[in-house]
Amino acid sequence: MNRILAVVILIILGFFLISPLNLDFGHPQLGVSQYYINYGVVDTGASNMVTAIYLNYRAYDTLGEATVFFASALGVFMLLRREEERNSDG
C-alpha cells in the first residue's frame, strides 16, 4: 500500500516538475497585464503602475491586506495586555 502511494506521489510530483518545461515564457496567457501597461495611466491617473494596480484595479486585495495587518495588531494587543487589564477582563 505504501509503495503504491509513493509511486502515485512520485508521478504527481514528476508531472509538476516536467510541465513547466513546456511553458512559453515571455508570452503570458492572460492579456490583462498588457492592458494595465497600456491603459493604466489613462484609467487611474497614477504614473506609478504598482500603485495604480494595488489601489485602483485591485483595491479589494489591499482591503484584505489592511485587514490582515489590523488583525495582527489586535492579536498583539490581546496577547500582551497589562496585568490590571488582564485582571479586570476576568
Binding site: 504614473s47 506609478n48 500603485t51 489601489l55 485602483n56 483595491a59 489591499t62 495587518f69 494587543f77
Partner: protein, 142 residues
C-alpha cells in the same frame, strides 16, 4: 538607568521631524514615485520606534499616547471600508474610484488613490508603533 549617549539623543531629536516628513512625502507621492502607503507608514512607525528606543517608551508615550495611536489605527480601518461602501452608494462597485481626475503628474489627481494611501500609511505607522509599545512594556514587566 540612563545609558544612552547624548550624541544619539540629540541626533534623534533633530532627525525625528525629518523622518516624519519623509514618511508623509512617501505616502502623499505614492502614486507618482516609488513608495506608497505601506512603505511611508513603516517609516512613520520607525520614527516613533526610534524615539522610543532612545528616549524610553514612557517619555514617547507622553507625546504619542497609545490610546491616540490605537484610535487612529481603528478609524483608518473604518474609513477604508466606509470609502468602499461610498462607491456602492454612488452607483459604482465596491471601492471604485468616484472622484474626478486632474493632469497626470500633479499630486491630487488620482481620485481615491491618494486617500487610500493616506489611510493605509497612518494605519500601518500607528499600528507598528502600538505593537512596539506593547512588546516593550511586556518585556519590561517581567
Amino acid at each position: 538607568m540612563d545609558k544612552t549617549s547624548s550624541i544619539v539623543k540629540i541626533f534623534t531629536r533633530k532627525l525625528f521631524p525629518f523622518i516624519l516628513l519623509f514618511g508623509c512625502y512617501l505616502i502623499s507621492f505614492g502614486h507618482l514615485s516609488p513608495g506608497g502607503g505601506f512603505q511611508g507608514g513603516v517609516i512613520l512607525g520607525s520614527a516613533i520606534i526610534l524615539l522610543g528606543l532612545v528616549e524610553g517608551v514612557k517619555v514617547t508615550e507622553k507625546r504619542f499616547g497609545e490610546e491616540f495611536l490605537s484610535l487612529t489605527k481603528n478609524i483608518g480601518m473604518l474609513f477604508f471600508i466606509l470609502i468602499g461602501f461610498t462607491g456602492i452608494g454612488l452607483g459604482y462597485f465596491f471601492l471604485s474610484d468616484f472622484l474626478p481626475r486632474g493632469d497626470v503628474g500633479s499630486v491630487p489627481n488620482t481620485g481615491l488613490i491618494l486617500f487610500l494611501n493616506l489611510i493605509i500609511g497612518f494605519m500601518v505607522g500607528t499600528g507598528i508603533a502600538v505593537i512596539f509599545y506593547r512588546i516593550v512594556r511586556h518585556g519590561s514587566e517581567e
